[in-house]
């Protein structure tokens, strides 16, 4: 991999610059969700829709030119980091056209993909014009797990083929895995497979109910609070042992990212109810052209193509004027460390100010375990440290 050192140095500088932009309300980070279609049919997916379903809802994906127009507007408004995602973005026939256009504009481009559609044609495109980062979602380390999660065992072979292509592309490759009941016991094998291609490996175990109009099995296949915790601990253990052995910290070592800087600088910037960069320095353009604060806030949107990009961006925070954290959360001792985002609450309960038992149980399970955990792994009390940072914001 080329220039990885430089890429890493930039990533850490990026957080500080993001804070600088959030304070000035600059839309630094954008995501373009090119399509909700996907060649996989993952049982827990919150977004996936077929062409027929899109038509039935009387909607349509943005055209090639509409995406290019939004990209031009985004450049003028100050977007630097642009993530291209889906659905599966490589499924669009015009992907190369859109990519070639926006690639010249001055973004630092990231691509989210399941890798299975990467072929000779995309290999040539990305070898010539590589995205700065590529994030691949991996679902398992064997065909059977892929069959159970994505609906087709052949997707595993195609993903591996795609990863083989990516290995030779000069980009910074991440592999991310969402754990549900079907791949719960496979962490070690999946990480091993991922590590054949990159050491940048991250896990996720939070699975939310789908956006309105999409059906998924999220609720029945996601892990319980206890299982989430187990998988998290098991991953931490692996990195702890690795660190002990090599004496160096892997960047995906969960201990290395204990303090989420987004929460540190997000809390005192309007709209305070959002504890991340959403609507402060980050936005999401949905496949049908709406501007959202992030993928999860599907209900809150402005219309960049109708009202103009800058107007849509400027209006985005106002949509949150009436939203508050539930009283229960504000009084809760875990408030600063809990992912108590109103968007998650909405996805789970249909209301922004109703606590979701799914999130609450997970946090409480985690706290219980933290208290028992060996202090060598958690040398500082995170809550205390974060409160201090928040009080000291300039």
């Amino acid at each position: 991999m080329i220039n990885n050192e430089k890429a890493r140095a930039w990533e850490s500088a990026d957080s500080t610059f993001a804070a600088h932009c959030a304070r000035r309300h600059i839309p630094l980070r954008g995501t373009f969700e090119l399509t909700p279609r996907c060649n996989f049919h993952c049982k827990m997916c919150y977004l996936h829709q077929t062409s027929e379903e899109i038509n039935l809802r009387g909607k349509r994906e943005l055209t090639t030119n509409e995406w290019i127009k939004i990209a031009e507007d985004a450049i003028n408004a100050g977007t630097l980091n642009l993530m291209i995602t889906g659905g599966e973005p490589l499924l669009r026939d015009d992907f190369a056209t859109i990519y070639n256009e926006i690639n010249q504009m001055g973004f630092i481009i990231g691509l989210n993909t399941n890798a299975s559609l990467l072929d000779e044609k995309y290999y040539r495109l990305f070898s010539k014009y590589p995205p700065s980062t590529v994030s691949v979602t991996l679902y398992g380390a064997d065909r059977e797990t892929y069959r159970r999660i994505t609906g087709n065992e052949g997707h595993f072979d195609n993903t591996v083929k795609g990863l083989e292509y990516l290995k030779d592309i000069p980009t910074s490759l991440d592999i991310k895995v969402t754990f549900i009941k079907d791949n719960y016991h496979k962490l070690d094998r999946i990480r091993e497979t991922a590590n054949r291609y990159t050491d940048r490996f991250a896990i996720n175990y939070m699975v939310f109910k789908p956006v309105p109009g999409v059906s998924s099995e999220a609720e029945s296949c996601r892990l319980s609070a206890k299982e989430c915790l187990n998988i998290d601990i098991s991953n931490r253990k692996y990195y702890y042992e690795l660190r002990k052995k090599t004496g160096t910290e892997n960047e995906y070592d969960p201990a290395a990212s204990e303090n989420d800087p987004h929460r540190d600088y997000g809390l005192d910037i309007y709209p305070e109810v959002l504890t991340c960069l959403a609507a402060k320095a980050a936005y999401w353009i949905s496949w049908d052209g709406r501007m959202l604060p992030c993928a999860t806030f599907d209900e809150m949107a402005t219309e960049p193509l109708k009202e103009g990009f800058s107007e849509a961006w400027n209006r985005l925070p106002e949509l949150f004027a009436g939203i508050r954290h539930p009283e229960e959360c504000v009084k809760c001792e875990h408030f600063y460390t809990c992912p108590n985002c109103p968007a998650y609450f909405f996805a789970e309960t249909g209301s922004y100010d109703t606590v979701s038992p799914y999130i609450c149980d997970m946090v409480k399970e985690r706290t219980k375990s933290d208290k028992q955990e060996d202090s060598r792994r958690r040398p500082q009390d995170k809550t205390a440290k974060q409160c201090k940072t928040i009080n000291n914001t300039d």
Binding site: I2, N3, N4, K6, A7, A9, W10, E11, F17, H20, C21, R24, I26, L28, I75, G78, L80, N103, Q104, M105, G106, F107, I108, I109, K128, Y129, P130, P131, S132, P170, S172
Partner: protein
């Protein structure tokens, strides 16, 4: 000498940022930030220039003496060279 094609100088939130695009992403990942003076010289170097020409430009633009201009320019150029950003006419 001049700045290679494929590096875009952008100003975001009052910060001058150089972003590699297209093929340049292969040789340089990430970004470079520049102060206002360096950004100005960067723009001047987007066209082919001789060292002395840049020095003359700096003296006229910033009312500094020749020695200071030469010293500062050498530092900037060596950083650019280190990052492979400059190209030279044969």
């Amino acid at each position: 000498m001049k700045i290679k094609n494929g590096y875009l100088l952008r100003t975001i939130a009052d910060t001058n940022i150089v972003v590699p695009v297209s093929e340049r992403v292969i040789e340089f990942k990430g970004m470079i930030t520049l102060n206002d003076v360096s950004a100005d010289i960067w723009r001047f170097l987007e066209t082919e220039r001789e060292f002395e020409e840049v020095v003359t430009y700096m003296i006229a633009e910033y009312s500094i003496d020749k020695e200071v201009a030469k010293r500062d320019l050498k530092v900037l150029l060596s950083q650019m060279k280190e990052n492979g950003i400059l190209e030279y006419d044969k």
